[in-house]
């Protein structure tokens, strides 16, 4: 039962990403061609909603569902890994038009070819795990 709330949040996420077409290869291509505001609007409003919500949580010391304070850890400091890791991610994002969330959503929707992207993404994660300590931060 504990997991049902996560399942429901995921369900909402899957529907919203599909109905907003953020899972669509076409929308990602159109975004990178600057030929539509749609994706920029989605990302901006999501960030603005999150930003306002987090400020309300922090200022009112709203507690999590289990009664503990809501603490969101800061991202680790660094530069190289963010610029270069981000750039590599962006190349893949624009090539296959899907980021990790949409990969799963599309497979759920029955796009079997996307399983190949998932296999690739697991291989990529595995390669990172093998060479993690040799990569500059």
């Amino acid at each position: 039962m504990h997991y049902i709330k996560y399942l429901l949040v995921g369900f909402l996420f899957g529907i919203v990403l599909t109905k907003s077409e953020a899972v669509s290869w076409y929308r990602i291509y159109e975004m990178f061609q600057f030929q539509s505001f749609h994706m920029y609007g989605i990302i901006s409003v999501a960030i603005a909603t999150g930003l306002i919500g987090l400020q309300i949580i922090k200022r009112n010391h709203i507690k999590a569902i289990d009664g503990n304070p809501i603490v969101i850890a800061d991202k680790e400091k660094g530069s190289f890994r963010y610029w270069v890791g981000g750039l590599i991610f962006g190349l893949g994002w624009a090539l296959v038009g899907a980021c990790p969330g949409p990969i799963f959503i599309l497979i759920g929707a029955g796009f079997w070819s996307v399983i190949l992207i998932l296999i690739g993404a697991m291989i990529g994660t595995f390669i990172y795990g093998l060479f993690k300590d040799k990569l500059p931060n």
Partner: protein, 185 residues
């Protein structure tokens, strides 16, 4: 029911994605989909090859539940909430895609050329999807997050590392969309 089957406007969708993130925060978790790839690698046995995969993955089961929910959401949205007017992209984009030999949406979420089942007979297409996946998997772990973890969770929490990563995402995406895609297709 048109409201549900038509393309959802960006302000409604963006707001709901923000709510998804905040709900997970309220449950004491942080929104980020790419961490699931690490968990799946560990479940598949990657912990025998690299220490990075030796972690308490069972504490991540909640995120796998989000993932399964998202897959169900995708199924319901495509099979019960779709409409031929969907994916109404810019006509200029469609023209541009035609010159690359990529079919127009006509209500479909993904081009047939790249995602139809006939691609399983094309080594080139199989390779493109695998390489795209490898770049996504490697890049998101190296950068410590993807669109959900950095662009949404990170930026809304005013994280400078996330801003660097998101700028990286867009630089990489622009290079691919403007210089590499025309060479590939």
């Amino acid at each position: 029911m048109d409201v549900l089957t038509q393309t959802w406007p960006w302000y409604v969708s963006g707001f709901l994605i923000g709510i998804v993130m905040l709900l997970l925060n309220y449950f004491g978790k942080v929104f980020g989909m790419s961490s699931n790839l690490r968990t799946l690698c560990t479940i598949a046995g990657a912990d025998k090859f690299a220490d990075f995969f030796k972690f308490a993955w069972k504490a991540q089961r909640w995120n796998l539940a989000v993932l399964v929910g998202a897959m169900l959401g995708g199924f319901v949205a495509v099979h019960y909430m779709s409409n031929p007017s969907n994916v109404d992209i810019n006509p200029k984009t469609i023209e541009q895609l035609a010159t690359l030999g990529i079919d127009a949406p006509n209500g479909k979420l993904a081009p047939q050329v790249l995602f139809g089942n006939q691609i399983f007979e094309s080594p080139k297409m199989i390779l493109i999807l695998l390489i795209g996946g490898i770049l996504i998997g490697f890049g998101s772990r190296y950068a410590g997050g993807c669109t959900s973890g950095h662009a949404i969770s990170g930026l809304s929490n005013l994280q400078i590392p996330s801003l660097k990563a998101v700028i990286g995402f867009f630089v990489g995406g622009l290079i691919m969309a403007h210089f590499l895609l025309p060479l590939i297709f």
